[in-house]
């Protein structure tokens, strides 16, 4: 009987522990890859609301933002996680680039200052992630040191990674190049903006976290 009670308590504790542990799923990548667009797509699909604002100007996301307790379903399976959208990681930030996109000097300088802080925060948060989706623009050459550094750091921390090649709706998208650049990882092509191939993306997410 004592054994039976122990087993029941053990199961209860296990369940409680399981419920408390929320997977932190991070979205990482260089600026303008579509991290927030993907975050919005996930939040729209499963919560019916957006996560953040998107723009064509780089460094639109300058603060780490978290959406807690997102549960996605596939068949009988359920997956709950806290989604962490991070600012794009870059090695250079020039306020004059923001001037070119029509901002006034003061606003451009402020944006550059916030963008640098955003990069620092993204790097700091790497240690807190359980699983990461690296969001890359599939129309851009993937052989950049920023991409290699991000993936190298995740690899060193043994964090499971899924590479998303975003913007496959565009003609220039080249998933094969992405696959060749990072052959050790699963690469999935999507268009977060138009919801293309997101079912496959969710399937891969289950495979990654399970």
């Amino acid at each position: 009987m004592l054994k039976g009670i122990k087993a029941v308590f053990g199961k209860l504790l296990k369940r409680m522990f399981k419920k408390k542990k929320q997977v932190k799923l991070g979205l990482y990548g260089p600026p303008n890859g579509g991290k927030t667009t993907l975050a919005n797509k996930i939040c729209q699909d499963w919560l019916g609301e957006d996560m953040g604002s998107v723009s064509n100007i780089a460094h639109e996301t300058r603060e780490v933002s978290i959406k807690e307790s997102i549960t996605i379903k596939s068949g009988n399976k359920e997956l709950s996680f806290n989604l962490v959208d991070t600012p794009g990681i870059a090695t250079k930030i020039d306020y004059e680039d923001f001037l070119k996109s029509g901002m006034k000097a003061k606003e451009a300088k402020q944006r550059a200052k916030e963008a640098t802080k955003g990069v620092i925060d993204s790097i700091k948060w790497l240690d807190d992630m359980d699983t990461v989706i690296v969001v890359l623009d599939a129309t851009i050459d993937p052989y950049t040191q920023v991409n290699i550094t991000i993936i190298g750091n995740l690899q060193a921390r043994k964090i499971p990674v899924l590479i998303v090649g975003n913007k496959i709706d565009k003609k220039k998208a080249n998933l094969k190049k992405l696959e060749a650049a990072f052959p050790q990882y699963k690469v999935i092509g999507i268009s977060a903006k138009f919801g293309k191939n997101t079912d496959e993306f969710y399937k891969e997410l289950f495979n990654l976290v399970d």
Binding site: I89, I93, L126, Q145, V146, I148, T149
Partner: protein, 135 residues
Amino acid sequence: MLTLQFIPYHEMENLDSKQRISKLLKSVKSNKIVLMEGRLKSSEEAELIRKTMEEISPEFKGIELSVVNTPNTDAKILKKFKSVLVNMLLGDRHGLTIIGPAKIIKEIKQDPDKIQLLTEEIQEKTKSKGKKRSK
């Protein structure tokens, strides 16, 4: 005028991560393009980016960074073995790291074993040539 500074491996091997990063940043901030024998650890690369961001100002816009000869972790067994052996023998000495100030280096195009370095001046010239041709 471009100034290239070569840093041999022996100049870096006894430095800790913090010292390596500050040595590199100091050179880059004085407008030199650094060619470093070997490579930084991935955590040091991330720290270099973080430190660079702390130093960004209207005068210093950041860095361009590239590493040649990144070992392919999914190569065929023989290649992989060779790569592991080279790493065991040479450690972080394997490869070449290029770091330069973003105001001088516009872009570094990187292939697994080839690097193209585009400087601001070269880009400007290419653009003006293009304009002349179109006229």
